[in-house]
Each structure stands twice: as structure tokens, then as C-alpha cells.
């Protein structure tokens, strides 16, 4: 797709019919977690969308986020979306290296000043910049320079969004998140370790069509992070009935009961895994029998054992009307808020919650 072409023009030139375009829009709406009623609006916006320039900077990261995105099997939608952006700099994916690569970054920043989208994965070491440099430039300097001319910044992965694993105690590099350093630009946080591929493309598509998405208090797009895993979990009816797996191989585990007592962080974790799922919609950790680790929440690595149950909410949680889209959400959100409060106060007091405690509470 040429730079001045709109997406609509590009698709028609490829010989794609209006029906094909409508199909593309329906799949895009589903990908962006927007209601199907939005399809006409999406069609209109995509028809007119122009190719934005994207600069992708990788700092203290494991490349898992890039892997997540590029290993997602090349679905047509994602392919077309990537056809519609101009990825001017990404040091893992680009062919150029060394001075050539850095020149390309600088040229694109100059040419598209004020208009490009800056994507960042990885956290930034500030106690000693020597921990991570690119072409001799410290991560902090490179970020600040690239941020200045950006229209918006997308922090991909928990490291860029919240500091992630590099920031886990004792944080040897003094790792910080993008939003710790930049205060004067719109920042969209797309956390997850790694984030779900369609969530990454969905956010980019949203930016392409409707501009910045609506964000929650942690800067995450509400369309994907608006519900907790627990709100949309298919094991939720068991939670509501108080049916829990106690070990990984007991009767409850075999029957697919709730994994809460095995440490599931679903109630305090906001992400789209329970509906979007992984590996082309095949499954997600809870469906595979493992509790949610809470990887899209700040400090998930330091929030206690993955296998230790969250402190129990004491409010009224007996609901079974769970057509989650509507009814479940409000209740789930309230429980999660209670849980979050509990978790942080428990953390402050360094108090451990054990299965015994849980049982005491559920009996009382």
C-alpha cells in the first residue's frame, strides 16, 4: 500500500469486493471487541484510513511481545492491518542494521514529526543506563527523543506499561515504565506477558480508525481490559457455587471446577484471555487447568506466590446469572475491587493467606 492511499483504495486495487470488505470489517469489529452494530462506522473509518508511520523501540525486554505478535498465524485481518502501517523502525524485524537502521529511525522521525505512532516494548533502566543501550544511546535518551515527535505512544507488554519483570524486586537496573518517564503525551498501555496478539493489532486498528481508544485508570484500553478474567471465566459458575479444585489432580480439578484456591488471580486481573483466548482462540491458561498468573497487572511478579489464593472477598458473591456481558460484570468488578484492596493491604502487612484461612472463612 502506497503512503497516500487509503485502506479502502488499497483493498479495491487488490481486487477485494465490497462483500470482502464488509467481512473484513466484521472481523475487525470482533477483533477490536466492538459490538457488531459498529460495523458500518468501522467500514466508513477504515475506508478512509491512511497509513501511519510506526517506530517500534525495544528496551529491557525478552522479545516475547514481538513473538506474540508475529507468531500469531498470519490471519488475513492482521496481515491487512500490517499492510496498512509503515513500520519504519523495529530492530528485530527490519533488514537494515547498524548505522543504516539508526538513520532510518531518524529520517522517519523527522519526516513524520508530530504524526508517527511510537510503540515501546521493554522497561527503561535509569539507575545505570549502561544496562541497556542501542547504538551507544541509552534507552532513556532514545525514548525521550522519539517521544517528543510522536502523536501517541503505545506501551506494549507489562515491562513497558508497568516495569514488568525487570522491575521485580530487587530491581537491579532501576527499571521504570514508559509512563514513569513521559507525562506530556497520550500513552496507551497494552500490558500482558506477553499481550494477546489481537489485542496489539486491535489497539493499532483502533488508533487507525477512531484515534485513541477509551482507557481505564491504568491507561489500558477498556475494550480489552474492561472486564476481569473472573468476569468472563467459563469456570465462574463453579466459583459461584463454591466448588473449587483443591489440588491439581483432585476430583474438582478433573471436573473443571474453579481454580481460586490454587491461586487464580482472575478476580484481580483485567485482560481479554477468557473470551479472545490464545493460539487462534484455542484455549487459555484457566481452560488448560492452570490458575491465571495475573500477568497484565502491575507488579504481578511480586504479588505473592502464583499458587497462593487471593484473600477471599467477604461480600455477597452468590450470583449465577452469568450471561457475563451484562449481569456478571458489575458484580465481578465490585468483587475484584474488594480483592484488590485486600491484596494490597495484605501485602503491606506481609500477611500470607493460606488455604486453611480460606476454608475458615468459607465455613464462617
Amino acid at each position: 500500500m502506497k503512503k497516500d492511499q487509503t485502506l479502502g483504495e488499497a483493498l479495491r486495487l487488490k481486487g477485494i469486493s465490497r462483500r470482502g470488505f464488509l467481512k473484513f470489517c466484521a472481523a475487525t469489529a470482533s477483533m477490536m471487541a466492538l459490538p457488531p452494530a459498529m460495523v458500518p462506522a468501522i467500514a466508513e473509518a477504515l475506508e478512509k484510513a491512511r497509513k501511519p508511520s510506526v517506530i517500534w523501540l525495544s528496551f529491557q525486554e525478552c522479545t516475547g511481545c514481538t513473538e506474540s505478535l508475529t507468531r500469531s498465524s498470519t490471519s488475513t485481518v492482521e496481515e491487512l492491518i500490517f499492510d496498512t502501517i509503515s513500520l519504519d523502525y523495529h530492530h528485530t524485524l527490519q533488514a537494515a542494521s547498524g548505522t543504516g537502521a539508526e538513520d532510518a529511525r531518524e529520517a522517519s522521525m523527522k519526516e513524520n514529526r508530530g504524526k508517527y505512532v511510537l510503540i515501546v516494548d521493554g522497561s527503561i533502566p535509569i539507575s545505570n543506563p549502561g544496562y541497556s543501550t542501542i547504538a551507544g544511546i541509552s534507552n532513556e535518551d532514545m525514548l525521550m527523543e522519539a517521544a517528543e515527535g510522536a502523536a501517541a505512544i503505545v506501551a506494549i507488554g507489562s515491562c513497558a506499561a508497568f516495569g514488568g519483570i525487570p522491575q521485580a524486586r530487587p530491581n537491579p537496573t532501576g527499571a521504570v515504565s514508559v509512563s514513569d518517564l513521559i507525562k506530556d503525551k497520550p500513552i496507551v498501555n497494552v500490558p500482558g506477558c506477553p499481550p494477546i496478539p489481537v489485542v496489539i493489532t486491535g489497539v493499532l486498528t483502533h488508533f487507525l480508525t477512531f484515534g485513541l481508544p477509551e482507557l481505564d485508570h491504568l491507561g489500558r484500553p477498556l475494550a480489552f481490559y474492561g472486564n476481569s478474567i473472573h468476569d468472563r471465566c467459563y469456570r465462574r459458575p463453579f466459583y459461584d457455587k463454591g466448588l473449587f479444585a483443591e489440588t491439581f489432580d483432585d476430583e474438582g480439578a478433573r471436573k473443571g471446577w474453579c481454580l481460586y484456591k490454587l491461586g487464580c488471580k482472575g478476580p484481580t486481573t483485567y485482560n481479554a484471555c477468557a473470551t479472545t483466548k490464545w493460539n487462534d482462540g484455542t484455549s487459555f491458561p484457566i481452560e488448560a487447568g492452570h490458575p491465571c498468573l495475573g500477568c497484565s497487572e502491575p507488579d504481578f511478579w511480586d504479588a505473592g506466590s502464583f499458587y497462593q489464593a487471593l484473600s477471599t472477598p467477604t461480600g455477597d458473591i452468590t450470583r449465577n446469572t452469568l450471561y457475563a456481558a451484562g449481569a456478571g460484570v458489575a458484580a465481578g468488578a465490585a468483587i475484584a475491587a474488594v480483592n484488590r484492596k485486600h491484596r494490597s493491604s495484605a501485602e503491606k502487612r506481609h500477611e500470607k493467606v493460606t488455604i486453611d484461612d480460606l476454608e475458615k472463612e468459607s465455613k464462617s
Binding site: I16, K23, A26, R232, P237, D280, Y323
Partner: protein, 143 residues
Amino acid sequence: MSDLYVTMTRPDSIDIRVGAGPRDTGNVAPLLNEVRHALVQLLDTGKETIIDLRSIPLGPGESERLEETLGEGEIEAVLHSLGRSTIRETAYPGVWLVTHYNEEDEIMGKFVEVTHIPQILKSQNEDINEGLQRLGSTLEQTH
């Protein structure tokens, strides 16, 4: 906490039964109720409803169960554009199941449409116009 690990058995001794147990989210019945409501609305006001099945939490096997319940009706059409799409009327007239696949035949979207005819089946003006021009030039060449 520690007895959690002590009581673990060896993986090969775990009796794994695929699909065993009632893994019901309870979301199928409300979904069918929503479809019924949408049908009443279609008859009364002509208003169409589209439900994105990917936005609803369904447990293993539930999606298949939903499709089984909806059954097969009189019409099944296949669209070939950006991979195939199947557009099938279910056993309940006015309730259609639309599934979009990509070129690798992976599902890109699955919708229940409550309508007289899904929009995507109709010939689109842009395509009609393009076809009209092609027909015009064919006629010019033959005369």
C-alpha cells in the same frame, strides 16, 4: 500450602477424561433466550440483531452445543472472498449463523444474525457498479 505439592500424583497416573464433567458456563440458555427475544423484535419492528459469539465466554464444547441446538435450516451459502465464509440459516427461520474464515481456513469471526437476510448475502452497489462497467466493455468489444 505445602501439602498441596505432597498430594500431587505422578502425571501419568492422573485419570484424564477429555470433556469430562459438567463444564457448563450456563451461557447457552441465556443466549438462546436473547435469540428468541431478537426474533420477536424482528417480527414486531423489523429490527435486526447481530451477536458476536466471540464476545461471550463459552466453555469447552459449548460453542458446538449451541450450534447443534440451533440446527440446520433450508439455506446454506458459501462466500468466497478473503477466504471462505459460510452463511447458514438455522432450524429457526430468521436465525442465521455466519462464520468467516481467512485464507488459511481459520475462523476470523462467528456471528448469530437475526434477520430476514444477512447483509453480506446481498449484492453490494459498489460491486454491481463494477460489474456493470465490465459488462459494458464486454458488449462494446462484441459489437
